[in-house]
Structure formats: structure tokens, C-alpha cells
Amino acid sequence: MATTSVSGGGEVRLAGICRSYGDTQVVRDVNLIAASGSILALLGPSGCGKTTTLRMVAGLVQPSAGDILIDGVSVTGQPVHKRNLGMLFQNYALFPHLTVRENVAFGLAMRGVPKGDTVRRAKEALALVRLSGFEDRMPAALSGGQQQRVAMARAIAYRPRVLLLDEPFGALDKKLREEMQIELRQLCNELGLTTILVTHDQEEALILADQIAVMRSGRIEQVDNARAVYERPISHFVADFIGTSNFIPASIVDMRDGRMTLRSTAGHVFESTVPNDFSIQERVAVAIRPESMRLTPGELPAAANRLTGTIVRSLFKGQVLSVWMKPHGQAELQPELQVSIPIEDAARMSPQPGETWSAQWSAARTLVVREQ
């Protein structure tokens, strides 16, 4: 690998940035840090303000309030072309009238790099994205994956301080997307590039990012590393957006020795040993992942973290068998519980609609989240 391409990434800090269009606030008081050399994902449904946030870092949109700092220096007033960033767009945005080489060399030419160096560094960047030998092609003659690589080479050729990715894999098919995601992660780590990624695909965020910032209606809902966001979501929204969860509204009745006891309105008792910041009497929700639950046939005596119900339907999903169960005496909550049975266990037990089964799970897998 070309050792000359290694560049130290800058630390990006967003300090209370806001953006409104007319009366609509698109981004509200976002505070974030992308550590030098790390990958930060802005994850959220469409319209949550994640793309606007990214465009503010790029300078394509001006924040209405707040400050953006790269390596401690404010860039808020700086024009786009002076920020020294690399950006990947959803549709690649290659220059259709320039060859692959000219595309990749564009940023270098704009920086007044001498012609000879430009050619060499463009070649290096293309080698990094494994696209050597395509220098003289036109973008229109390339496949989607190849165009993506050219866009990547163009963005890293001039060694930007920060790489910004706006849903970069949206247009690729699943298999190619996964390949490119792994490649991108390797490349960013190799170059030590600070990367900010915008995506609505939770899987993409989990694969790529060191830190995930979940956004909702212009606000940051939770920032944590990928594992923590999945295993300890703080709100109903996060638990629902990342992975699938069953929610049961409950109130906290007891807390001691790191063990929390909760009770639903129907009287079911839940226990959780997952650390959280909630206090007694607070109205929250219990969230249980479908894969955390174990099913046993028939009715079990009532206990904490245990629900009995009637099977509604089951669905084969490849690696898992998804089973929906209607809990007895739980009219007020989410109508059906979803339980995943690993496919190797599905051979031993296959719940049929109409049968009575019980679901149970451990206190370590009982999540307590803020109700929205």
C-alpha cells in the first residue's frame, strides 16, 4: 500500500449547531465529536436532519446557530473549497466529461499540485481502491461499484482531513454493498481518516461505525459505540430503530443492588440488570429483543420476565423462524410479541398457531428504555 497516502484525520466537533428553513427546525442543538481517525455514523429515518448536519460540516449548508470546529479551529465561516474535506455522494456525482484519471486528479489540480505529481497521486489513489488500469475510461463506461470506487479515490486523492459520506451505498445491490462497506472500513482505518457517515441503514452503521449517533427530528437521541447502542438503547425510538424490540410500558417499582424491578399495568413483573439512569416511579418501557426470548410449550407458573400466550403465526426468515405470540391478559400493550427461534432449534420445536406457549428471558437481556 502507498505509505504516502496516510494522513492524520482531523477531529470534528459540532457545538450546538442548529438549522432552520423558515419556521421548520431541521437540526436542533446538535453536539457531537468525531474523534481523529474514527468513523462516526449519523443514523436516523429520512427527514431526521442527518444529511443537513453532514452538509453543514461540508459547508454546503450554513448553520443558523452553533459552531463547527475541525482540530479545534472554527470552520463555520470558511467557504466549502477551503475546508479540505472529501465527500462521497449518494449518486457518486462523478464529473461526466472527465476521464477517471481527471476525476481523481481534480482535487489535486485545484490545489495547484504540479502535473507530474497529480498523475502519480491519482494513480496511487486508484490503486488504493483497486481500480488500476481504468485511468482513461469515462465514468459512463463504469459499473455502479466502479463509479463508487472512483468517487472514493477522488475524495481521498488530496488527503482530506475528514471524509464525509452521504448514504454512499444506497444505489448498490446488497452483495456489492456489503463488499464495499468492508473495503471502505479497511481503507478509512488504513488512512486514519476521520469519517462521518450518514445512513438510514442500521446494519450499515453497525458494520462501519465506531460511534453511532442516532438522530430523530433534528436532535441527537443517543451517541454510543455500535455495540452499546444495540445492547443498551436509551429510548423506545432507538430500540425500535436499531434492531427489533418488543415493548411493554411499565413503571419502576424497586431498585437495589443493580437490579431493577418493574411492573406493567396488567400486573406482570419484569426484572432488569442492564444499567440505566432511570429513577423509581418513572414511567418507562421494557424492551426485549426477539432473539433474547426462549419459548417453551405450554403454560408456566407466573414469574418475573415470563409471559404466556397463544401463537398467532410463524414465518421462516432464513436464519431464524419468527413467531408472533398474543400474550394472555395483555390487552393494553403492543398486541403481539415477536420471538426469534434460531433455525437449528426450529427443527426441535415448531410452535403452531393456536397453541399455548410461554416466553421467558433473563434479567440481563431486559432493556429499560424511555417511553417516547
Binding site: 459547508g59 466549502v80 472529501g86 464529473f95 482535487g107 475510461r137
Partner: protein, 326 residues
């Protein structure tokens, strides 16, 4: 059936075909219409069928008269007011052997070229405003640009005459700024050029605005992020990518101004006649139809040739961008 199966029907057409096929169950007429529609859109004949009406119209009202005109210029000549029949190149020899006609020809080409150049220069800012400005700005510019087209060309030319007159509005304004002896523009090439630029500007702006509007905004943004100043984006991205629009605009403006008649007649007068004026003189004043036809033939050939050369240059460049796309 086998025909439609073997040929790709464009996706947007398929629903129509399906619907028409469904309707076809209801009656013979609908069935026939469905067949016509399928034929017109789903086969290789589609292109020919769609352009046929326009081609027919042009053949009758344009190609045929032009051929008649060329024929006339080659088969008769006027000697001392009397028409002499029979094949002859005399009209063309006369056209090329006189210094006067050659000067008029050069002036015509010069005005057409300069008009194209100046309209292109003025067109870019306006086209960018239309394509990239806010909706209200775009509408304002478009209306301002197109409004003069609502005024008859004669009226507009006389309007310019009162402005460019020795005692006209321009002279009056210049006098306010202390220029007591302003240059006389009326009845010079400049007057013709100014009026032509004004009249033909929309024909340049609209195609360029269309071309700029089709440039993906994220391509411009990608250039900005990669370090390009706004000027560099204009030069390296917008300008080359809007070339197809410029080609159309330049072709229109060049052709229109080379063939302009009313404007040069009113603003250039007899002091700077163009080919159009010359043709009018030959045909209406001197009654020399064959020689007028020869000048017209030359004009058409010149305009056609310059358009072909220009389009060829642009299309070669354009072909490069889309190389391998199909």
C-alpha cells in the same frame, strides 16, 4: 405477438400497451388502436412514425421551395432587364467576382458571429440565474427575457432607432455624463449588432439554461468540496457540461442573425447592408430573381455549413462523455 416480444418496449410505454390490450377486448376499434399504438411506439419504426408529420411539412414548405430557388439560380439570368433561360453559372460568377458582394458577405458573417459571441457572453449569467436561482428570480428573468419577443420586430427596431439616434436617448444619457460628442451608432454595424443581440438573446439563454438545469447539483457540490472555487466550478464543470445547450443556442442565433432582414434594414440602412438586404434589393427593387436566388442559396449554404461544423465539434466532445454508456 412475436414482434413485440422480440423488441424491447420502453418501460414507460408498457403500461399503455397493457391497458390498450385490456381495452382491446371491448371492441374492434380499440383493438385496432392498440395495434397502431404498439406499432408506433414498440417497434423500430417508432422513430420514423413520430417524425413523419414534421418531415412532410418541411419537405413541402421548406425543401421544395429551396430546391426551386436553387434551380432558378442555375437556369436563368437577367441581362439588361431581360430574362435569359438555360443552364448558367453566371449568377454565381457575378456574386464572387464583385468586391462589393464579398464585403457584404463578410459583414454578414461577422455580425452573425459577433451576435452569437455577445449573446453567449450575456446568456451565461442569465441562464445560471434561471437554472440555479430561486423560483421567483428565475421567473422574473425569464419574463424579462421573453417579453421583447411579444413586440413586433419592426416596432422593436424603430425603438432602437430612437435610442441610438444622434439626438436619441443614448446620446442624451451620454451627454449627462459629460460626453458632449457621442459616437453615432445608428446606421452602422454596431447598431445592427446591438439590436441583434437584444432580439436573439432569448434563443441563446433558453437552451443554455436547460443544459445547466440538467447538470446534477451534487456534481457541482462535489467539485466545491474537492477544492474548486465558484469560478473554477463555472469554468471546469458548468461551462463544459452546458456545451450542448451552447451549441443549440449558437446555432439558432447564428442562423437567425445571418438571415436577419428587418433589423439591418432599419438600423443599418444602406450604409451597412447585409445579405438579407441585398437579396431584397435584387428581388424587389431590381427584379433580378435569379441573382437574388443565387445570393439566397449562398446564404443557406453558409449557414448550413457553419452549423454542421459547429455541431460536429460539440457532438464529438459530447460523445466522449457518454462513451460506453450504450
Amino acid at each position: 405477438m412475436s414482434r413485440t416480444e422480440s423488441i424491447d418496449v420502453p418501460e414507460r410505454v408498457t403500461p399503455h400497451v397493457t391497458r390498450l390490450r385490456a381495452n382491446a377486448k371491448e371492441g374492434a376499434f380499440a383493438r385496432r388502436m392498440a395495434k397502431v399504438w404498439e406499432f408506433a411506439t414498440g417497434t423500430r419504426m417508432a422513430g420514423y412514425v413520430l417524425v413523419a408529420p414534421a418531415v412532410l411539412f418541411l419537405a413541402v414548405w421548406f425543401v421544395w421551395p429551396v430546391l426551386t430557388m436553387v434551380h432558378l439560380s442555375l437556369t436563368s439570368r437577367v441581362v439588361e432587364g431581360v430574362s435569359v433561360e438555360g443552364f448558367t453559372l453566371e449568377n454565381y460568377v457575378r456574386l464572387f467576382s464583385s468586391d462589393l458582394y464579398f464585403r457584404i458577405l463578410l459583414r454578414t458573417l461577422r455580425i452573425a458571429l459577433l451576435t452569437s459571441l455577445f449573446t453567449a457572453l450575456f446568456a451565461y449569467p442569465l441562464a445560471i440565474a434561471i437554472a440555479r436561482g430561486g423560483p421567483s428570480l428565475a421567473r422574473l428573468v425569464t419574463i424579462t427575457l421573453l417579453a421583447p419577443l411579444l413586440v413586433n420586430v419592426v416596432v422593436r427596431s424603430y425603438g432602437w432607432q430612437t435610442i441610438l439616434n444622434k439626438t436619441g436617448a443614448l446620446a442624451w444619457v451620454l451627454k449627462i455624463f459629460g460626453i458632449s460628442n457621442p459616437p453615432v451608432l445608428l446606421y452602422t454595424e454596431w447598431a445592427v449588432l446591438i439590436a441583434c443581440v437584444h432580439v436573439y438573446l432569448p434563443f441563446m439563454v433558453m437552451p443554455i439554461a436547460g443544459a445547466i438545469g440538467r447538470i446534477d447539483r451534487s456534481v457541482e457540490e462535489a467539485a466545491r468540496v474537492a477544492g474548486a472555487t465558484r469560478l473554477a466550478v463555472l469554468r471546469r464543470i458548468i461551462l463544459p457540461l452546458s456545451l450542448p445547450g451552447l451549441a443549440v443556442g449558437a446555432s439558432l442565433v447564428f442562423s437567425l442573425s445571418a438571415a436577419a432582414y428587418v433589423t439591418p434594414q432599419i438600423l443599418g440602412g444602406n450604409f451597412s447592408p447585409l445579405l438579407g438586404t441585398l437579396i431584397e434589393q435584387q428581388i424587389l427593387t431590381l427584379n433580378d430573381w435569379p441573382f437574388g436566388a443565387a445570393i439566397s442559396t449562398l446564404l443557406i449554404a453558409l449557414v448550413l455549413a457553419s452549423n454542421l461544423i459547429f455541431l460536429k465539434l460539440v457532438s464529438r466532445r459530447f460523445a466522449r462523455w457518454t462513451a460506453g454508456a450504450r
